[in-house]
Subunit: 575 residues, 2 copies
Amino acid sequence: MPEKIVVIGGVAAGPKTACRVKRLLPDAEVVIVDQDSLISYGGCGIPYFVSGDVSDEKELRSTSFHVVRDEGFFRDAKGVTMLTRTRALAIDRQAKTVKVKQLDTAEITELPYDKLVLATGAAPNRLQIPGVDLEGVYVVNDMHRAMAIKNDLAKGKVAKAVVIGGGAIGLEMAESLADLWGVETTVLEYMDQLLPRIVDPAFGAMLEKHLKDNNVTVYTGESATSLESNDAGRVCRVVTPKRSIEADLVIMSVGVRPRSDLAKEAGLLVSEQGSIVVNNRMQTSDPAIYAAGDCVEIINQVSGMKNNAPMGSLANRQGRVAADNIAGIPSQFEGWVGSFIMKAFDCCIGGTGLSHNTAKTLGYDAEVAITAQSDRAHFFPTQAVIMLQMVFDKSSRKVLGIQGFGPMNDSVLARINAGAGLIAKGAAIEDFSNLELAYAPPFSTAVDALNATANVADNLAAGRLRTVSITDFLQWMEKPQAKPQWAALDIRHPKEAAEFVGKFGPELWQAVPYVNVRSRYNELPHDKMLIIICDAGTRSSEVQVFLDSVGLKNNLVLGGGFNAIRRIGADWWPS
Amino acid sequence: MPEKIVVIGGVAAGPKTACRVKRLLPDAEVVIVDQDSLISYGGCGIPYFVSGDVSDEKELRSTSFHVVRDEGFFRDAKGVTMLTRTRALAIDRQAKTVKVKQLDTAEITELPYDKLVLATGAAPNRLQIPGVDLEGVYVVNDMHRAMAIKNDLAKGKVAKAVVIGGGAIGLEMAESLADLWGVETTVLEYMDQLLPRIVDPAFGAMLEKHLKDNNVTVYTGESATSLESNDAGRVCRVVTPKRSIEADLVIMSVGVRPRSDLAKEAGLLVSEQGSIVVNNRMQTSDPAIYAAGDCVEIINQVSGMKNNAPMGSLANRQGRVAADNIAGIPSQFEGWVGSFIMKAFDCCIGGTGLSHNTAKTLGYDAEVAITAQSDRAHFFPTQAVIMLQMVFDKSSRKVLGIQGFGPMNDSVLARINAGAGLIAKGAAIEDFSNLELAYAPPFSTAVDALNATANVADNLAAGRLRTVSITDFLQWMEKPQAKPQWAALDIRHPKEAAEFVGKFGPELWQAVPYVNVRSRYNELPHDKMLIIICDAGTRSSEVQVFLDSVGLKNNLVLGGGFNAIRRIGADWWPS
């Protein structure tokens, strides 16, 4: 008798598992059930469908060769039975059956299985606040909502929108509303920075400024307490503890939680956070039942912690491993590192591994190297600066994470991708110093930005470089009198430094150009802590070494320099 | 007494070593000598200076903050003495001195050293053929020649050019002549493909077609036997065994050889190939003498073979390691893997690790997985196809190399960089299947092109996929009667397949669409070896699995499919 494989869930991990199982076991009967009518869509593409970059929702449900992945496609091309509008109600592990209900006919049947795959995904969180069910309030988790949002926009119903939640999906939605539809858009983030936990405050601040420069209003440390409606019952206002914001559309993007009720009710092991527990072969506590995708808990390869990590790319990889093991191939899913990338108007932000804050919370002896380097040869016409940060453990010299902020091309991606595999393997700073990134002037620099960042980390770890954090520098500039012993040493070209010296005076803002420090260091005060500042931090590091050698050891380097400050913005900036 | 460090060579490795030594040992006296007047230039930028992308040669000699790296800069900013127009004549290892001659004054002096660094670089090869010294015949190895070439172009002296040598520098020069100056340009390559040894024939062929599409004439398997002059003594013609080509300019780009005479005469260990032998701390056979850059021999981390690898990026990394060790920091240079990338008009080509041909020559059980995948979500407006190849060892499953060909952006770079560090660490196919590349639709696909290539390699290594090579397929199509038992099975959309069926007839060219194979496989012949063809190879692999399962096991998949063939070009293509 052919082996029977039942897969619950028709997006990402489910179809991936089902189709590969069918390829590995061509004689097996493979059935997918999903309660939705629209399945196998690229959920991460929803913001680009809403924006209009993707004109038809069918494109999100199509293969690269432009065939819609519907029931017929799975039957004809894949040999897989796709039962849509079919809800899995319960699993009988003894009988090895799944009870399912066809939602249109209300017919209930039992599907027998030899192997069962749970790819039940995640459900969007909703704030429990008044007005959450009003018309015009959406979560973004399926094609129906995506189409409804786009419909509202197309019909001219939306002049003002509020996005609740400053994570990746919320921000992508904010861009799609503001950029192509010209909607007056506000983002509310409860935490005190955008992309909290994912990036560190300096990178969140660069992103925030770029969004604001593109007419998106951003309020951090603030969330909605209620939603108010107009006479027609549609949302018209978002109320926060600090203000009231008009809105015809509210996108609620406040995270997801794994859908694990079926698993729990069947007695499978589920974590305290509600994720289905699997081994590294994607097997649940019942050896006949596998699980993959947003519903499971996986191990972070850097921290060793187990988390729910709802990402389409991970779901696909897990699906492949589940399929392999169902077919008797001993593949393993070793965990995740946290690679991500996000477009934000003309810029992009990405990362992999742990953030500095997360690393510190986990008890690492974590420090950061920040650089501002050209993405390609500085003489090549299309060059631009990318900001890179390397988080490392000072004791072990292990690299824990990388973050990048740069122009909207693949230059940040190229550095994040270079780091992802090495970080998963526990690589150290020297692995990144010597990492042989491809070099030609139209693509990179002889010492690649990532190598340069590792070299800064190396100098920091060895105590050959002392830095001040961007946060500490900005706090000081906000209130210089709090640290009267500090003074800036601006080593840029005199023309660049002039307006700062003019505004702040030489007590606070000294200027000696980089090329003159060796001949003019006698002009510098001995009683001050000098904060050495250039555009990127590279020249400042050299100046620190020199000043130290002549006995002026009271100094710190601002890593990332003016390139960082300019991207974050400061109201003390000379106008 | 301060330590005395003498560095011979003022480009890349030399200045890098000198400046870092000075930072690590601020009290040391650091001197660089170079026989040229123009030093510390970005040699890899020369093609972009010649093309006009970089307008002034000074930009190639400037820092990212636009200061020219001349003698004064090294003195004032770096605290390093740069002696230009100063040739090192001999090393006295007992006395620890270097005899140098100032070329303008002819004065000879002895520079004492505690540590000596040889960064003598490489000298360009010249073909020993008649006419090699004619006016208008150039090698590309320093700024003087670069300026002379550009001068010839700017003065309108050049209507037709021949580049001898189809390596990276030759091809970059060919583009710069053809693209911005509109020069009628021909490339001659002695080997039977472009970028020989670096990429495999299929990738060389894609590059060749793209150059030809951009009006560069390419002859492979052909080199110059003599150069002829006009009455004014300037080159006017390049003669090969097959033809005579008019040329007002000839660029000779036929490789380089390490400059190691000084080292050899001083009794240092030099390899048979003429490279200075160093340990992984960049120390020569004399512990007081270090060497770095194009003049040394380094180990290939994949093959374990020692080679000369003249690359600006490697030179900088080696310089850093040499400086560290001179200053007592035990850094190591572990070797190289062979990462490279090159712009070619609207496309780029890159790679890392070993090519398939090299791997086979070295005795590996090497096979290749070739894919044609979207660089970003197929529904994202700017998506394009990139061709990727993974070379792996079937026995050990170790990944030996990656090659990529794609549009002129950083998408190939992002995949090459992702592979470089892992290949250096001896990673296996599964490391690439699970490699967590950053995903968002504007940047990549949920299963990244590199993951997908690894998945194909996995299927190949496990015997779950059988392919025909692109070369074998093209040979067959050139002469189908040589293999009358073969037939193409075109599984694309019927509209796409129609003109092929029309031209070749159903004996040679069968067409059954992918989505219909499960219902129509009975139409297929049992006595033929079916070559399954789609656009990328993905659907073909699925069809192979299905046909095998119904007993039609006589079939092979064309990896890369029509995307590969289209990029290589074929004269049998229906017009």
